[in-house]
Amino acid sequence: MATDASAIRDQAAVSEEEFSSTVRKTRKRHALATRIWHWVNLASVVILFMSGLNISNAHRYLYWGDWGFSPDQAWLAVPRFPGWMTIPDYYSLAIARDWHVLFAWVFALNITLFMIVSLANGHFVRDLFTRAAEWRPAHIWADIRAHLRLQFDHAGSKFNFLQKVAYSKVIFLLLPLMIFTGMAISPGMNAAAPWLLDIFGGRQSARSIHFLCAWALMAFLLLHLALVLLSGPAKQLRDMITGGREDAAA
């Protein structure tokens, strides 16, 4: 009887081990929160960018400082963006602004929730924050050479060094800058939070930074897309939808 009981216990112990190893294997490569954020963010960034280009067509000059209203004060004359780049695909400041102020909410709430969840579930600390050792020039150089050879090994962690730097610049710098410069352009927000104007050096400066960051984001999106295409696009796309498996990531 005693041997039977210990056999059962042994069996139980084994299956528990098997169970935990199964859990480890089937741990998602991308958490559900990350995947929802990723796709909602893509949709809202594309809509905000394209409606933003329509808004840009309303006054195609950028200035520094508090004010500016004519070409001789501008630091940049922006080209007119064609219909295929804008929402709607004809010039309408009113409808473009509707899209822009609506999706500003989707975009801002989405990234706020993502940030809260990713701090809580350890995604930022575990996967996005770089370690001191990664900043050694030799390591950075090795990572650059690996990229040039189109080898995207991650050496144990989910993202390689350049990936971590690029993703964190986008998530912690560019995307928040889009939100805060956007807020600094709004006269209603200026009355509520005038310090935003001081941070960016005036409304027209905030407008210029808003425009520059939008194009920096577009450059990131194109680079990101190119690297996905070079690193097994079918699997990358599938994993960002289903979550994939953590083990398969290495």
Partner: protein, 247 residues
């Protein structure tokens, strides 16, 4: 080549879809919701205090104050009034008030004056800074005595654009705001015609189209439904701009 055709077709379908969505009623309702969320957060961030538009110093004033929309009224009545130095110009204060008023420029100049150097932001994206002087709208409303059922102030104007006479409106929060003034001076001089001579509203927490020029009437109402096409302003009625222009 096929793939490029597919991408072009997908892009075109996306844009066509966006156009459809953008013109639908559900989208309009969503946008109105987003707009009032923005307004709500602008007010809520004040945490109970009255939020004030930033004021600048005379060193910040733009060398020229651009005019937009109507820059010349062009009617014989207006031209005659301008030639007469606006001596007979009247602003009618009516609607839901105890005492309807008809105010001359001298009446308005004899009230306590407020001078403020503020930034004017056009919906198109440009900004100009100017120094505006005039009585607070709240002082004029106090003289007339606003009835409790009044919820909006409608501003009537002497100018017309392509689709009809210009008008605008604001809620009582903006109407009674300390920076909401009936300006008759810009940078210490009577207003130029392009900036709204002889009188223009300043509603400083909103975009330029909310600052009606060539002011002839101030009307208190409970609802904007019967006014113009019912959306509360010329651009709102004819071009789809949002009534709340704090963004």
């Amino acid at each position: 080549m096929r793939r490029r055709n597919f991408l072009a077709a997908a892009g075109a379908a996306f844009l066509a879809g966006c156009n459809k969505v953008g013109e639908s009623q559900v989208f309009g309702a969503l946008v109105d919701g987003a707009e009032s969320w923005h307004r709500g957060i602008h007010r809520a961030l004040g945490m109970g205090r009255i939020t004030m538009a930033p004021e600048y110093t005379s060193a910040d004033v733009s060398p020229f104050f651009r005019g937009n929309g109507t820059t010349e009224v062009g009617t014989p009545e207006y031209n005659a009034a301008r030639e007469a130095g606006f001596a007979d110009w009247r602003v009618a204060v009516g609607g839901l008030v105890e005492t309807p008023l008809s105010l001359s420029l001298d009446d308005l100049r004899s009230l306590p004056q407020r001078t403020q150097i503020t930034r004017h932001d056009c919906v198109e994206g440009w900004s100009a800074i100017g120094e505006w002087t005039g009585p607070q709208l709240s002082a004029v409303l106090a003289m007339a005595g606003v009835k409790p059922e009044a919820r909006f102030v409608v501003f009537r104007c002497a100018d017309s654009l392509r689709s009809g006479p210009y008008y605008e409106s604001c809620d009582m929060d903006d109407a009674l705001h300390p920076q909401t003034i009936i300006a008759h001076l810009l940078n210490g001089e009577p207003l130029p015609e392009r900036n709204g001579a002889p009188l223009r509203m300043r509603i400083e927490r909103q975009l330029g189209y909310k600052h009606p020029k060539y002011l002839t009437g101030i009307e208190l109402v409970t609802s904007l439904d019967g006014i113009g096409l019912g959306k509360g302003g010329y651009w709102e009625d004819h071009n789809g701009y949002q009534w709340y222009a704090g963004i």
